[in-house]
């Protein structure tokens, strides 16, 4: 069978800060790279999932016998066939592997089948008889707290009441106050590679699962619990991952595949179609956010109050951490002496929501930046000047009371971005106007707008989570082999890992061992902008340990001080020039080290949302220039400019790719992307109806500056860079459309009707 090739030996020259080639690049351009949907086994069966057509229903009965009677069907399994824990979950174990008596969202898995052909499997699903007894779904998050609980764990997943500073600070009559309510729709990660994988049973009752995921070990733990198997009998290997963006943090088909493989004794493959994928993973939380800002007439922020309501959908997923982020960063990267934020995430019968790039900070950035523009207008002040005046600096306190101990160049990114010259021109090309092909705007009616927005978030996991990554380095015959369970999802960790090892050990040949659960401990999740720091740091530490051991041995043998020895180009040489030893010969016997890398510990939030809950922060700014056709309500983003706090650039091209890709997802949320849910049902579960930016929609991204202020504790000073680009970009584009139209536009995505019908059109829409 095909397994992902991660062990290819290729020579690398480039080190940290240079554009090393991707080790998976050649297979990816030749079609040879095995994604999880490309897995094949000669004896394999096809799995498929029966999903609830109702957002809320009781299951009166379920008859699988007609499905089993179909020729070619090998197994039909229900909740009764789950031998271990009936539920799973990242933070709360509240989601059924297969629904039993009730379903709580449209698309909830109810039964799974294994058959000889995908069409046979689909016919088997259709033959299963279910006595559906639909009930009234709870779809308005505002009613969730008072409604009857739809789950034994209740409808409030988490509430945080953050209070910081003098709570009566705004009780004076010489302040300027602005107030607004903002909404963010449900965004989909829309990775290109659908959920897929293959489970292969072994002879001793265990199972091998090849799957696309962001975090192998936490999947393994949940799968093993549901299968009632010890960890060593459930072995996960990373199959090629076609993008993730948060949607692969939760289990999807993992347990189903293993159940089917163990029942049939055959390898089973499952691959979701696009429609099923929309139902098969969590989305970005829709949010409704009320804000009130108070400032002096000079523009100093005095107090920010907010109430955040996030719709978590039917199951908890990572909602608890998302609402913590939303709450902690609700005031934006500004110095605010008095803060009160109530953040609540509730359970409804809407699609479950969880992790997506930016993780809670995207929603609040949209709101706090709209508020800053509104405040600037009320103060008759330049919005960039207002932001600079209140910009957080290292040494300042966040709303959580935490002092910023590392770097955080807020003013620097604002200045660089806002001050960057624009190359945006008007265009006579109809294709370049709002609407593009087919619905081109009348050039005379097009109005242009421009705005700047700033956003920030935490890097790594927070609130006392024991976050770590394990790595092993073996240097043998001068070749370094790195073992780490970090999930490569496209971001390029495979490139960085080889650069880091090459940098530390002075070798060109660095081999990456297959990524799986039996050979090494957890690397943690490829999320929270954490893998460069955590797994990059683990690789660095493992290689440095090997390096020290080698140098100590050479020092002892040759009587040269360690300080006088360097590793370069596969050799250990003395600075005096009297020693020159080949690493290939020195490592005839392998030298190896295995480490677990941790960041500095964090604390939980206390009852007032206070505490040193976060490790580090990163900030970015975007300036958007847009053209708007007010007649048709269409927006063309003409130019985006960004500046970002990166600590240090490890790979310039990959860094640029993160900035461009993140900005594209931000543009999408600003003007086109929304999972439209009506009464609990997704109306646009396809790429025909859920629009993501194409090459015609995306403007060029101008990078005004990558601010390199090395972050203490981070490998080579490098911060994670994946999430900030998707945080401030949405807010900037929305603000530019406001600038062009003069409309309040308190909701993203901005729909054509929001522009055509003006602000009157906005109030009736319910988050759903």
């Amino acid at each position: 069978m095909t397994v992902v090739e991660t062990g290819a030996r290729t020579s690398v020259g480039p080190r940290i800060g240079e554009n090393a080639p991707r080790p998976d690049g050649v297979p990816k351009v030749t079609g040879g790279f095995a994604f999880s949907s490309d897995l094949h086994h000669d004896r394999m069966l096809w799995g498929a999932t029966l999903r609830s057509p109702h957002p809320a229903a009781r299951i009166g009965g379920l008859d699988t016998s007609p499905a089993l009677a179909i020729d070619g069907v090998h197994a039909v399994l229900t909740h009764e066939d789950v031998p271990g824990s009936p539920t799973f979950g990242l933070e709360h174990c509240d989601q059924p592997v297969l629904a039993g008596d009730v379903v709580r969202y449209e698309g909830e898995p109810v039964a799974v089948v294994a058959a000889d052909h995908p069409d046979t499997a689909r016919r088997a699903l259709a033959a299963i008889v279910v006595d559906w007894q639909p009930t009234e779904p709870l779809v308005d998050p505002a009613l969730a707290e008072t409604a009857d609980p739809i789950h034994p764990d209740g409808n409030v997943i988490r509430r945080i009441h953050l209070r910081h500073g003098d709570q009566s600070a705004a009780d004076r009559d010489d302040l300027v106050s602005v107030e607004g309510t903002y909404e963010v729709g449900m965004q989909d990660q829309a990775f290109l590679g659908p959920e897929s994988g293959m489970a292969v049973p072994d002879d001793d009752g265990g199972v091998d699962l090849y799957v696309a995921t962001q975090w192998l070990h936490v999947d393994r733990d949940q799968v093993a619990a549901c299968l009632d198997l010890p960890h060593e009998k459930v072995r996960l290997t990373l199959a090629g991952v076609g993008g993730a963006f948060g949607a692969r943090e939760d289990l999807s088909l993992h347990v189903h595949l293993c159940l089917l493989a163990l029942r049939t004794g055959r390898p089973v493959k499952m691959s979701y179609g696009r429609e099923e994928s929309f139902h098969g993973h969590v989305h970005r939380h829709p949010a409704r956010m009320w804000y009130r800002h108070h400032a002096t007439t000079d523009g100093d922020l005095v107090r920010v109050e907010a109430h955040l309501l996030l719709d978590g959908g039917a199951y908890a997923s990572s909602s608890s951490a998302v609402i913590a982020n939303a709450t902690c960063f609700a005031a934006g990267p500004y110095m605010v002496p008095s803060v009160e934020i109530e953040g609540v995430v509730v359970r409804t019968d809407n699609p479950p929501c969880g992790a997506m790039r930016g993780f809670g900070a995207v929603q609040t950035c949209f709101a706090h930046e709209a508020q800053m523009d509104r405040l600037a207008a009320a103060l008759n002040m330049d919005p960039v000047a207002l932001r600079l005046r209140n910009a957080l600096e290292p040494g300042d306190r966040l709303a959580t009371g935490q002092v910023i101990a590392g770097t955080l160049p807020v003013a620097e990114v604002i200045r660089a971005c806002a001050g960057h010259p624009s190359a945006a021109l008007g265009s006579d090309e109809p294709m370049a106007r709002p609407g593009g092909a087919g619905r081109t705007a009348d050039a005379q009616h097009v109005v242009r707008g421009e705005a700047v927005a700033v956003g920030f978030k935490n890097l790594m996991f927070s609130e006392g989570f024991d976050d770590s990554s394990a790595a092993r380095c073996v240097l043998h015959h001068g070749v370094a082999t790195i073992t780490c369970a970090c999930a490569e999802v496209g971001q390029g960790f495979v490139t960085l890992a080889r650069q880091i090892a090459g940098e530390v050990l002075g070798v060109d040949e660095v081999v990456l061992a297959p990524v799986e659960t039996t050979s090494i401990g957890s690397a943690g999740s490829t999320s929270a902008s954490r893998q460069t720091w955590m797994s990059g740091g683990a690789v660095q530490l493992a290689c440095e340990t090997v390096r020290r051991e080698l140098l100590a041995a050479v020092s002892a043998t040759h009587g040269v001080s360690i300080d006088d020895l360097v590793l370069v180009d596969g050799r250990i040489v003395s600075l005096a020039g009297d020693l020159d030893l080949s690493l290939e010969e020195l490592t005839v016997e392998p030298v190896e080290a295995e480490v677990v890398h941790r960041h500095a510990p964090t604390s939980p939030l206390d009852g007032d949302g206070q505490g040193d809950a976060h490790v580090s922060f990163a900030v970015s700014a975007h300036r958007a220039i847009v053209d708007v056709d007010p007649d048709l309500g269409l927006v063309k983003v003409v130019e985006l400019t960004t500046a970002q706090d990166v600590g240090r650039v490890l790979h310039p091209l990959q860094a640029l790719g993160q900035l461009e890709g993140g900005a594209a997802q931000g543009v999408g949320l600003a003007v086109m992307e929304e999972v439209q849910v009506t009464n609990g049902r997704i109306r646009n579960a396809s790429f025909t109806d859920y629009l993501i930016p194409t090459a015609l929609d995306m403007p060029p991204l101008e990078v005004a500056a990558l601010i390199e202020q090395p972050e203490p504790g981070a490998p080579f000073g490098a911060k994670g860079i994946g999430e900030p680009p998707s945080i401030s970009s949405t807010a900037a584009v929305a603000a530019a459309v406001r600038d062009a139209t003069g409309l309040a536009l308190p909701r993203v995505p901005i729909r054509p009707s929001d522009i055509c019908l003006g602000d009157n059109a906005l109030t009736a829409e319910v988050i759903a």
Partner: protein
């Protein structure tokens, strides 16, 4: 299920027999599941994302929308026919050099679309390129490095043509 009579396809210059197909299978399914050519990807299977793009008698098509039997008697070129390790095409090399590959799922389809574009237009301007690849969705890159790769490939192809 209804089996269909065997048919053969001309793929990347080779005749391939398809003997066990089920009626209604798409060219994409037959390529991936019956002929072992998994380079063409299945991201939407309704012709929106371009991940399954192949060339059929030179024209780019979404192979998910083509009935496999309908491709009989026509020349099919897939990503596997574009170039191989050690013998990469100009477009493949440009994608690597430009940093246009992240997760790589959209990459095969984009490579086919760009290859066809440059066959038709050796010096496409920015809007022409954007329109030509607007049927290929990419979620990782935001298209910036891909557009740069197209520029590089166009320059390489011109340099090749005018020695």
């Amino acid at each position: 299920m209804t089996s269909v009579d065997g048919f053969s396809l001309s793929i990347n210059g080779h005749n391939r027999s398809v003997v066990d197909a089920v009626a209604g299978e798409s060219l994409l399914f037959v390529l991936r599941e019956r002929l072992g050519l998994a380079g063409s990807k299945n991201a939407c299977e309704e012709g929106e994302c371009g991940s399954c793009t192949v060339r059929l008698d030179g024209e780019t098509v979404c192979s998910c929308l083509v009935l496999a039997e309908a491709a009989a008697g026509r020349e099919v070129v897939t990503i596997e026919g574009l170039g191989s390790e050690g013998d990469l095409s100009d477009v493949q090399q440009a994608f690597l050099d430009a940093g246009a590959v992240q997760c790589g799922f959209c990459t095969p389809g984009l490579l086919m679309a760009v290859d066809a574009l440059l066959d038709d237009d050796s010096k496409p301007d920015d809007l022409t390129v954007r329109e030509a690849i607007s049927g290929n969705l990419c979620r990782c890159t935001g298209y910036g490095r891909i557009l740069d790769a197209v520029d590089r490939a166009a320059a390489a192809r011109q340099a090749e043509a005018t020695p």
